[in-house]
């Protein structure tokens, strides 16, 4: 049994036989020819055939992946009609008196090189298209037909890379998943996998020896397992069954509103910890991001992330989400996390220690850097900021002073900022008890039930001995949540839940009765919660 890792393109689990796809190589020899006109005609005939093939592929692709993604084939056809390309082939044939295959190959290489050297990523990627059309013409000239036959059983297709033409020509009913060595998240293979809804991985160290063996594609963990042991295989079958169940739910609930039977609409958002989870957010039809944990920027680094680094990350997230709200929580780090460069002292009680907003308020340079990056990114989408671990109105007043400074600075520098809601997490008993006062100073509350429960019940979640005392539905907690929501509404602001309790469907009706405005849960739970909302009064 081998396990390889790769970058996940589309999640899901596929179990089946592996087929190793090998591109048929065009062996191109440079040979002298005597009749230039005849050779040029050979090229023109092959070119005509290629264009016919591309038009057929376009028709096929429109049906399978839609017009926008099928476009690539009409672009290929246009490239083959291009005067510069054709003049180059004709010239090489007539001046060097060589075969059409060589002339086409040289032309293809030259154009591909020009594009590869461009600065812009989009244009750089066009080099692949030029190689694709050139290969097509050469294959026709050589009389090579690519063997795309898959066989009777559906397979997991493993290859170095797959061009659009290759993937479109395959019999979709026989494809379980794609695993490739090369490719990118925006390559045609990725687009096809997402459109078809099949798991795909890229960047996998593939091996030709795998052909015919059993493979498992784990699109959630980004793993590819070859020849799994029986116990491993059984686990995967179980996960696949659960996955299929969830997918069926997806089909029924995607696109539907989060509306109760009495007509109340609740915002249903997602909690994520890094940009890679955005795929999941979209797949699960979240209305926005209710908690974007910004710690990944600090944890994945050995130095304080710069304003520019942070800005690029936040910008990407808000842009990807289109106009949907993205609530970004400012850094929530403490002595319990590994961030050496912060130089945090070891603590007896890190949960009660120097963390989160406390670090930000005593090290304003770090705070201002993050705020600058956030306000700058706000111009590119719908961004809101959330401050964690609040215990007093004093803190909020100080925070708002600093954030106003940042906004004024940016405006003076002529940098555009968007309309940014600023809210706080209610996750301490102090904040819960003072929520009536706090509500007057902020735009929203988001209840962090995990920590609120821990602090309110004075129980360490990691201590299994205390399980018999722990009650996730403890009346103290539910009272607190009710009070927080009421106080929010009294001040005219909205209240949501971003802790785990938000996904507890046995409480959905209670939360709705309390007047909750928003629930933010992990992406995989969204549709289950939607179902609960729709079934609630």
């Amino acid at each position: 049994m081998e396990t390889k890792i790769g970058k996940k393109i589309f999640s899901g689990i596929a179990i089946g036989k592996i087929q190793f796809y090998k591109k048929s190589e065009n062996v191109i020899a440079r040979t002298k020819i005597s009749d230039v006109d005849e050779e040029i005609n050979r090229y023109e005939d092959a070119k005509k055939t290629a264009i016919e093939q591309l038009n057929d592929l376009y028709e096929k692709a429109v049906v399978e992946v839609g017009e926008a993604n099928a476009d690539i084939f009409s672009v290929h056809a246009m490239m083959l009609e291009d005067d510069d390309y054709n003049e180059s082939v004709h010239n090489i044939i007539s001046t060097q008196q060589v075969n059409a295959e060589y002339a086409a190959a040289k032309t293809g290489d030259n154009f591909a090189e020009i594009f590869s050297n461009m600065n812009d990523d989009y244009f750089k990627a066009r080099a692949i298209d030029i190689k694709d059309i050139t290969n097509r013409v050469i294959s026709i000239l050589c009389g090579n037909t690519q063997d795309n036959e898959i066989g009777d059983d559906p397979v997991i297709l493993v290859a170095d890379d797959l061009t659009p033409s290759e993937t479109v020509q395959m019999d979709k009913s026989k494809l379980l998943a794609f695993v490739t060595k090369y490719g990118s998240a925006n390559s045609h293979t990725a687009i096809l996998a997402r459109t078809m809804g099949i798991p795909a991985l890229i960047g996998v160290d593939i091996d030709e020896e795998w052909n015919g063996k059993i493979g498992v594609v784990d699109g959630y963990e980004g793993q590819f397992v070859v020849d799994p042991d029986i116990t491993v295989l059984e686990q995967f079958f179980k996960r696949k069954a659960a996955d299929d169940e969830q997918k069926k739910l997806l089909q029924n609930l995607k696109g539907k509103e989060n509306i109760t039977k009495s007509g109340r609409k609740i915002n249903l958002f997602a909690n994520i910890g890094n940009p890679g989870d955005l795929v999941s957010v979209m797949e699960n039809d979240a209305g926005g991001i209710g908690l974007f944990r910004s710690e990944f920027l600090y944890l994945e680094s050995d130095h304080y992330p710069t304003e520019e680094e942070q800005f690029q990350a936040y910008k990407k997230v808000v842009e990807t989400m289109g106009g949907r709200k993205v609530i970004i929580r400012t850094l929530d780090i403490g002595a319990d996390k590994q961030v050496d460069y912060f130089k945090l002292d070891k603590e007896e009680n890190p949960a009660l220690g120097y963390r989160a907003i406390r670090i930000c308020l005593t090290r304003p340079e770090i705070f201002k850097t993050q705020l600058r990056a956030l306000f700058r990114a706000s111009a590119y989408g719908n961004l809101a900021i959330m401050y964690p671990m609040i215990i007093s109105v004093d803190e909020v007043v100080k925070i708002k002073e600093i954030s106003k400074q940042v906004k004024d600075e940016l405006t003076k520098e002529g940098i555009k900022i968007g309309n940014v809601e600023e809210g706080i997490m209610i996750e301490t008993p102090a904040a819960a008890l003072m929520s009536d006062e706090l509500a007057k100073h902020v735009d929203f509350f988001s209840i962090g039930t995990n920590d609120l429960t821990q602090y309110t019940l004075a129980i360490d979640r990691q201590n299994a001995k205390l399980d018999c005392f722990y009650d996730a539905h403890h009346p103290a907690l539910l009272r607190a949540i009710k009070m927080i929501i009421e106080n929010a509404h009294k001040a005219g602001i909205w209240a949501g839940i971003c802790g785990e309790l938000g996904a507890d469907t046995s409480l959905t009706q209670s939360f709705i009765d309390m007047g909750i405005d928003e629930l933010s849960v992990s992406p995989g739970c969204i549709l289950t919660v939607r179902k609960a909302i729709r079934e609630a009064e």
Partner: protein, 85 residues
């Protein structure tokens, strides 16, 4: 010769599809249509050259039309830019 300037609004710039459409459109006219960005020029009828200009969102290009029907052609081409780029 008739010219106009145009600032690209399409997020991907003069990418493959509109370049192909522009080339197709340009081929309908006898006149010579040239797109210039900075010091690089390309004939609008030549797809590869157009792509080679690497025109992205925000770039301002100068489009010039030269020929017997330049007056009407330039109007059609400017309309094309406004609708597609």
């Amino acid at each position: 010769m008739k010219t106009f300037e145009y600032t690209i609004t399409d997020p991907v710039g003069i990418h493959a599809r509109p370049a192909g459409e522009l080339a197709k459109e340009a081929k309908k006219y006898e006149d010579t249509i040239t797109v210039t960005k900075g010091d690089k020029s390309a004939e609008a009828k030549r797809l590869m050259s157009l792509l080679g200009l690497c025109v992205v969102k925000g770039d301002t290009v100068t489009v010039s039309v030269e020929g017997a029907n330049e007056a009407s052609t330039v109007v059609a081409i400017e309309k094309f830019f406004k609708e597609n780029l």
